[in-house]
Symmetry: C2
Subunit: 430 residues, 2 copies
Amino acid sequence: MSERPLKVALLGCGVVGSEVARLMTTTGADLAARIGSPVELSGIAVRRPARARNLPVDPELFTTDARELAARPDNDVVIEVIGGIEPARSLILSAMEAGASVVTANKALLAERGAELHAAADKFGVDLYYEAAVAGAIPLLRPLRESIVGDKVERVLGIVNGTTNFILDRMDSTGAGFDEALEEATELGYAEADPTADVEGFDAAAKAAILASLAFHTKVTAADVYREGITRVTASDVASAREMGSVVKLLAICEVDKERESVTARVHPAMIPRSHPLAGVREAYNAVFVESEAAGQLMFYGPGAGGTPTASAVLGDLVAVCRNRVNGGRAPGVSAYADLRVSPMGEARTRYHISLDVDDKAGVLAQVAQIFAQQDVSIQTVRQEGRGDDARLVVSTHAASDAALSGTVEKLRAMPTVRAVASVMRVEGD
Amino acid sequence: MSERPLKVALLGCGVVGSEVARLMTTTGADLAARIGSPVELSGIAVRRPARARNLPVDPELFTTDARELAARPDNDVVIEVIGGIEPARSLILSAMEAGASVVTANKALLAERGAELHAAADKFGVDLYYEAAVAGAIPLLRPLRESIVGDKVERVLGIVNGTTNFILDRMDSTGAGFDEALEEATELGYAEADPTADVEGFDAAAKAAILASLAFHTKVTAADVYREGITRVTASDVASAREMGSVVKLLAICEVDKERESVTARVHPAMIPRSHPLAGVREAYNAVFVESEAAGQLMFYGPGAGGTPTASAVLGDLVAVCRNRVNGGRAPGVSAYADLRVSPMGEARTRYHISLDVDDKAGVLAQVAQIFAQQDVSIQTVRQEGRGDDARLVVSTHAASDAALSGTVEKLRAMPTVRAVASVMRVEGD
């Protein structure tokens, strides 16, 4: 075992950071054995020094000068758990320039500036690990990056946001509407006071960008990801899915189109059959399906958030980069050689489930079918329900371009005999 | 990109080996991009040269001299997919001595001689990877070895044998007996002509040894693993589980007892509740639950066998060791610093579900309860069913040492009023 302890600077000491500091301190001997060298916290950058911190660390370690701490030339590893783009980005870049490897949980930064950070890691010959950025403690990025790297990933389909899964799960099991379920999620601590990043799909979109980049060896940023949140999902949508033997989930879907050499990445609510393994992912759990040419279907499941699980992922990365440090090596960089085009959502192949409130007149079905045919969308099933004012058509389509499908919905809305488009939901998973 | 191609020797060209050769040839450009260097097959060791091989490789590559091929000093990587202890072990050792990193899918060898192989890899400064040895294509060992290495694994609970899961799944869904289900599995190619290694639990026990070694950083061999197969599982056991809202699975269970600084590893059929995620693992799929202190419950799911999925795992390892080669580094070795005692099965804490055919006389329940009390086993529930000749007691226990529980069953068998012990099954997962 090496004598000189590896120096680890911690930037940020919120929910995740304080748990990282606690685990590093309490499991120090284990960490040292696994790394082959002792590790020590050399500093903890905080915003407010005065705040009482119930942590088993030397109070001298706290500093409000994150810039100075990140750029110290004797750092072996810098852990960034501040979040957001700046100052996190500048701090990471200056840490790399000073020769430190970086472990981060910052999904927003990775999704927006991943290419820049990877390039800097290559330039300065250091490691960049970020397992905690997607799906919390679930070891997912490392397998994608390393284990199935000899295979060709075709599709990634996942539940990557715990808050929205909790809300949709509650809507499904209790029949509650979105607002009511959100309220419960907030009370139980599953949703933040401002839930926008979660319920509007921004968080999932950042993760989808990271997943697509790793899975397809190309550059995809959060801005490339089509995004629809769950705020417009109604109790009636969920009930309608239930009638079909399905459940509504907020899915992140990344696909590669080999013929057109392009990828799509999208986040939106979708109906999936209850027999699909993702349908059984309850409460705030996350799960990601990976479909690849040789390995077939793989699923990774676990807690998607929380201070301790996220800190566990950070520590796993810390061990990996420290071991590389001790061995004098460096992990293989992330390859982004493919340089594939990111197609717009309109080109994605999807299926729709559409419920229409219609006039109870002869010939309405024929008119509706005509609209689908004009848009070149093939109908899989149609069900007519009710009579008179309650007359409803429930249509499931075959796969078509999303543009053709959303165009069809627009035309349907404009039909005089269609009183309302009661529900439109994409269908995935079978 | 490096100019000199990395040389890869392939030992074995059966189901997995030929798929490895095919994938290496057809995905060569992709592999080169991901590794940062071209790779080339330098030789393929086969037992029978004359056998027609429908593979897109130069026929000159085939050789029957595995020893010569393995020991060539210009090998960068040697892939061993022959299986069994010898000559696989000697070939791997000579390959390492000649400076090659090794990728293997050989669970029997790893379970029996893992420590020796890891020591040789350390001695000669080469990599040893074996993702394909457990749970086929599922990236499981790498996460255990690397991702959650900063965490403390408490328990690994998994379905790691596809053949037995297929058989038990059929027994559950059709009510078939073991023999009938095995016959179907054989016809469909899920069971081998001699199914002993699968149905008697030898295959799962080897995998449990590998999992326990990695999870708890200690040495566990196949001989340390308690093993019971599924040949004595009856249609009545499965029906009895079904009545309890459970399903019978062959589980590999590895646990650490922190207080006594010991580990247990065992493979046996057990009832798990249908609500448990492992209960939903159907047909020949594998899934492994990992419970750890910080990360919580993680599950890894996918195809557990098959030439292509297994070859995919081999290729993932190949990319990893080739990248290390290109970067001049070496992956962190496997740490086995803990050196924990392996406790015998009798010390494992388990729960039993016991069905007894009893005489329909007053006082039988009291006698039975007395036996449990004498053995210090606490009863959770007792159900009395039927009357007269069909009188039955169904007992579920609280957790106790396996020795106390199996002792209790022995005493019950000897009771004059107990006509037969109709079913004994361990209970896991809640």
